[in-house]
Symmetry: C3
Subunit: 237 residues, 3 copies
Amino acid sequence: LYTVRAALQPFLQVSSLTDLYNAYKTMPVSYALVGHCLFLAALAPEFKHRFLVHFWMTFLAGFGGGTLTAVLMMDPVRAPIGVLANNSIGVTWFICWWLMVYSPFNIVNRIHSLPPIKMVTKLCVTFMRANLIINRVDLAVTMFPGVIAAPLILGTLAGSGGKLIMDAIRHHWGGLPGPAEASVPTFVWRSAVLAAGGYWAACKYTSLLSSQEAAALVITVLLAHSLLSDMFGDKYT
Amino acid sequence: LYTVRAALQPFLQVSSLTDLYNAYKTMPVSYALVGHCLFLAALAPEFKHRFLVHFWMTFLAGFGGGTLTAVLMMDPVRAPIGVLANNSIGVTWFICWWLMVYSPFNIVNRIHSLPPIKMVTKLCVTFMRANLIINRVDLAVTMFPGVIAAPLILGTLAGSGGKLIMDAIRHHWGGLPGPAEASVPTFVWRSAVLAAGGYWAACKYTSLLSSQEAAALVITVLLAHSLLSDMFGDKYT
Amino acid sequence: LYTVRAALQPFLQVSSLTDLYNAYKTMPVSYALVGHCLFLAALAPEFKHRFLVHFWMTFLAGFGGGTLTAVLMMDPVRAPIGVLANNSIGVTWFICWWLMVYSPFNIVNRIHSLPPIKMVTKLCVTFMRANLIINRVDLAVTMFPGVIAAPLILGTLAGSGGKLIMDAIRHHWGGLPGPAEASVPTFVWRSAVLAAGGYWAACKYTSLLSSQEAAALVITVLLAHSLLSDMFGDKYT
Ligand SMILES: [Mg+2]
Ligand SMILES: [Mg+2]
Ligand SMILES: [Mg+2]
């Protein structure tokens, strides 16, 4: 628990949004990545018997948005494909996925399904997702100056691409519970559009807020939403 | 109507194919883009209740060929993805789509479905499509000198990629009226192959015609075909 | 037959793996390409009445892995899309495909279905595939130094991407005989993972073998497997 206290320490002295942003910056990304991977590997358990489909489907659910936007931006330097360019992503993912699917007596999965644990990993997913949306909007504004569609499309795809690809794969293996994200856009797409659009409007199109402040705001709103929807159930959101 | 007469003015003094090409060059692309977007936004009305699917399906029907060939050419400078690199594309598309789908009493759609209006917007689509095919063949010849397959594949994909993607999306939402373009290639694919192949053969592989003359010929043939098929019905073509 | 003896000549003086590698290097790639294309064009004959689907499906079955990895690596110089950058690929493919599908009295197809002939063309496919896997692992190691996932993913995709794409296309046209490659990974995926993983482990991650030796080993194992599975039937493998 010591590390948790240490991690939260910078948040206690936050007095402005920029401090909040710096506090977020101190968050250890590698831990967030572990939480992110654990939460994703626990998705679509009904596909576990088809390990290859499950491996790639859950992987793309988390990293699909980043990969899709990277391919569309065609700039391997500024927007590389994460799993190819960054060793820790591939290694962390493989270990988390293997633990979640093949751990003896399914312990990891059981522990992970305890509400408090799941809440933390879901926060990690939200944290990574918020950062990816912000990163893609920033990149789109620098790479395509003066183009309104670029940050909005790339920001939204970064936030919802994963879910879109997973629905497509699930649809093809007949495993799609409800309608696809694209047919009936759920929170995932709406939050991606609002986050991308809000961030872009707040600090790019207008200079209402500085980039740091807008980023801090977006991350906090998404994290709060994830927390509240876990506590009070989805209908609240 | 004054603008129409002004637009057609250069066509009156045309005495050679090159003049015709220069006349085409004077066409205001932004107006053609508006017509292009209006015609596309009116497609697949049965999907209107699913706005996100309709938005992207009709968008890709028009810009899919360009996007697909851009990704395959991997040259963000010479062949960028239109909607990301060019602000007017994103803005024009959003406005036209919104008007066509959400205009009060559906006026825009109703006006657009009047035959003469629809004929003009279809001409705009054909004009944009012909220019894209020619652009992709030119680019392919410069980027892949001496390769026969490059201009043919990229030119054909530029002209038929949109329809291929739209059929794929329609197929997945169970909305495909007839067989997919790929199964039973219709005019769209045939005209793309003939336009790309004809242009390439006429002015790249052989120097029968100069690039301008060949381009003028291809554009005129496609425009004439669009006009005649509207007037005398599809069976004529 | 003279050429066959000449081709096999270097193999007779092989005394070490490196010699074997150099012997492979003397293999005329253009002949291997012809065998590769003939074998592929003979696939999925039930789709022949839909020439466009058959053309692209059998093309992607052979070149899909290379194209997919090229798009993911986003480096048109080091990993261009074969058919666009190399004239002989497009030309050889078109001729072989046309002969296999449209040759009078279907002679080419009949000759090709004679076991010994089919064995040779299957060896060509295996030879091209082994070289592509090795090439992609080499490239991935240079482009993404220190990243374990890159060579494994790109090597595996290079070797199994074609089959994955073909299964996807077949699935959509209702022609998929058995379960898709992704659901029940067959020899294709397993051999791709083992070849990519084995080569990477042997000469990249460790320096157990030099690159030439590891390459020679991988090519020989895959060729031997192709030969044996043809002679003694699949259950052997
Ligand atoms: Mg959107
Ligand atoms: Mg074609
Ligand atoms: Mg794999």
